[in-house]
């Protein structure tokens, strides 16, 4: 009960404090979108659009036991899907998925690209669960709350993601020592 009250208080605070909401969650939305889109620049642009939408819509949301962050992720996922659809039917020549740094040896860079691509091959709902648990470090209970699924369903998605990733990486020839 106390948890819910705290959650609702935070929800109300985030509804009225847009800048606080932006500072708290912009980086994680950029990280999430960078995996979906394969480009950090595009992710930063799209994340700004997500928050622009939030500015108008969030004050009108109703408290339904979910944090504002769940809404942000849902909008980000939809916008990413639109952007990917558009990209698929229009111009070629996208930027490489991972920014290369001068100091990366070639094989390490190839591994990094393969790893980033492997994550991109996962279905969106798998990606989100992996992102929330592994990148942002949310416990499964919170992942479940943010995605609107049960804890068991999230755990199952995680298992399937891990298996798919392993298959993709094996096909790419990336060695992942246990």
């Amino acid at each position: 009960m106390g948890e819910d009250l705290g959650g609702e208080q935070r929800f109300r605070r985030e509804q009225s404090d847009f800048e606080g909401l932006f500072r708290a969650h912009y980086p994680e939305i950029v990280r999430y979108l960078s995996v979906r889109l394969g480009s950090r620049d595009e992710a930063a642009d799209l994340a700004a659009d997500v928050f622009l939408e939030a500015f108008t819509r969030v004050p009108r949301l109703r408290w339904r036991g979910k944090p504002v962050l769940a809404w942000l992720y849902r909008v980000a996922a939809n916008m990413a899907a639109d952007a990917l659809k558009k990209r698929a039917r229009e111009l070629p020549a996208a930027e490489p998925p991972v920014a290369a740094t001068v100091s990366d040896p070639a094989d390490r860079l190839a591994d990094r690209v393969a790893l980033a691509r492997a994550l991109e091959t996962l279905p969106p709902d798998y990606q989100l669960v992996v992102h929330l648990r592994l990148v942002e470090g949310y416990p499964f209970a919170e992942v479940a709350r943010l995605t609107g699924r049960s804890v068991g369903a999230c755990e199952m998605l995680m298992l399937r993601s891990a298996r798919r990733l392993r298959t993709v990486l094996e096909q790419e020839g990336v060695r992942v020592p246990a």
Partner: protein, 431 residues
């Protein structure tokens, strides 16, 4: 494996991830796969980048209404009124189910560079000779450049940077540098590329009308709508599949007269280029020395107003922060920080013995200006940015880099290109 076994395995994987169970080899291998695959996504965004993005978003937020939930009755009445208006407006203006403006804007969005080829022709044949224009847009860094060619001769090149606009007039061999489009005799309409203008209108709060016509959409973008003034509109035809612009026609309508079109811009190609292929694009490309004239927004020539010595504490309070090389560089201590005021803006000079670091935005220090826009400029990519090398007016080596808020240049008489390159990479914010 049965569904029940799968669930058990999934729950065990979750416990291994949570550190509650060590797991067998299979589970540990899966955890390693997950951890390695998510490595590239585990990057930090510096707080200053977040603040910068927030600052960039603020003007767009001001243009958007922010409404709280209204009482239900009022909301019901409001919804009914909106529905009635929408029925009328959408019938004539909007296309149900298609967010044409959003898709048109998205077609020109993204992190890469857009290269656009345009042909500018008169609506009434013979009014003026047709010319072509190649335009590069880097929305992320706020850069625009275009080259206008008439009868195979380059007549003009314009470069728009976040804090200044430069135009190379080939016939006069003059580069005019202004703090805004108002510094140019032709005014702002001529200094903003039509495609860029159209993109800005879509991104802003302009009331854009759209209608479907065969395999294209026709968008009307208001440019000037003041009462009793000439009404100016952009009529943009966009492809219904790609949502990319095909033609742009500007019309003028004097009060009580019919609208007249003067020129038509035909967009012959739109390409998206990776950044690595656009290194050096965003600089003027004249082939010989040209005279550089800096102007203020009131078109006055550049004039120095004064010079003030700043303490380190005063310099630390500047926002955006200055870029510096630390308290010392290559054994040379920071000897002084000066704010130099011109009628076009302020530049900051940090002196490290023989080396100097300049920070500037709207005004380019006269010591740097002649060659900064000169033919000897050499761009070199560094990560996602570009370092420009050139010589100062007195022959010193200069390496310059643009950040989102300022340009910073390291000027050194004794160092080679490698040294100034190394120095410019060491520049960091003075907090």
């Amino acid at each position: 494996m049965s569904r029940r076994d799968e669930r058990v395995l999934a729950a065990r994987l979750a416990r291994v991830l949570d550190g509650d169970e060590r797991g067998d080899d299979e589970l540990r291998a899966l955890v390693t796969v997950l951890e390695r695959a998510t490595e590239p996504a585990r990057f930090e965004l510096p707080a200053e980048d977040v603040e910068h993005e927030l600052a960039r978003a603020r003007p767009r937020l001001q243009a958007r209404p922010r409404r709280r939930r209204e009482p239900r009755l009022a909301l019901a009445f409001g919804a009914a009124a909106v529905a009635a208006v929408a029925l009328v407006v959408f019938t004539f203006v909007r296309l149900p189910g298609v967010d044409v403006e959003g898709k048109a804007l998205a077609a020109l969005a993204g992190g890469s560079i857009l290269k656009i080829e345009e042909r500018i022709e008169p609506v009434v044949p013979g009014t003026f000779p047709a010319s072509t224009r190649t335009v590069w847009l880097d929305r992320k860094r706020g850069l625009e450049k275009w080259t206008q060619v008439l009868s195979n001769l380059r007549v003009e090149e314009t470069l728009v940077e976040p804090h200044r606009i430069s135009r190379f007039l080939t016939a006069q061999n003059v580069i005019i540098v202004g703090t805004s489009c108002r510094a140019f005799a032709s005014g702002c309409a001529d200094v903003i590329d039509p495609v860029s203008f159209y993109r800005r209108a879509l991104a802003g709060d302009a009331h854009v009308k759209a209608k479907r016509s065969g395999d294209v959409y026709e968008l009307t973008v208001p440019v000037q709508t003041l009462p009793d003034a000439v009404r100016i509109e952009q009529h943009v035809t966009i492809d219904a599949d790609t949502f990319l612009p095909k033609t742009i026609v500007w019309t003028e309508q004097k009060p009580g007269r019919r609208a007249r079109a003067f020129s038509r811009i035909v967009i012959t190609s739109v390409q998206r280029l990776p950044r690595r292929e656009a290194v050096g694009v965003f600089s003027l490309s004249q082939f010989g020395p040209a005279k550089v004239v800096q102007r203020t927004t009131s078109r006055e020539p550049l004039r120095k107003l004064g010079e003030t010595r700043l303490s380190l504490a005063q310099a630390r309070r500047l926002d955006p922060p200055l870029l510096w090389l630390g308290p010392s560089y290559l054994g040379q201590r920071l000897r002084g920080i000066d704010a130099l005021r011109w009628n076009a803006g302020v530049a900051y000079r940090l002196r490290y013995g023989p080396a100097t670091v300049w920070n500037y935005s709207t005004v380019v220090p006269p010591e740097l200006a002649p060659n900064r826009f000169g033919a000897g400029l050499k761009p070199l990519p560094v990560g996602r940015n570009v370092v420009r090398f050139y010589s100062s007016a007195s022959g010193k080596s200069v390496a310059e880099i643009d950040t989102r808020t300022r340009s910073a240049a390291v000027v050194a008489p004794l160092y080679g290109k490698e040294d100034v390159y190394g120095a410019v990479q060491r520049l960091r914010a003075l907090h």
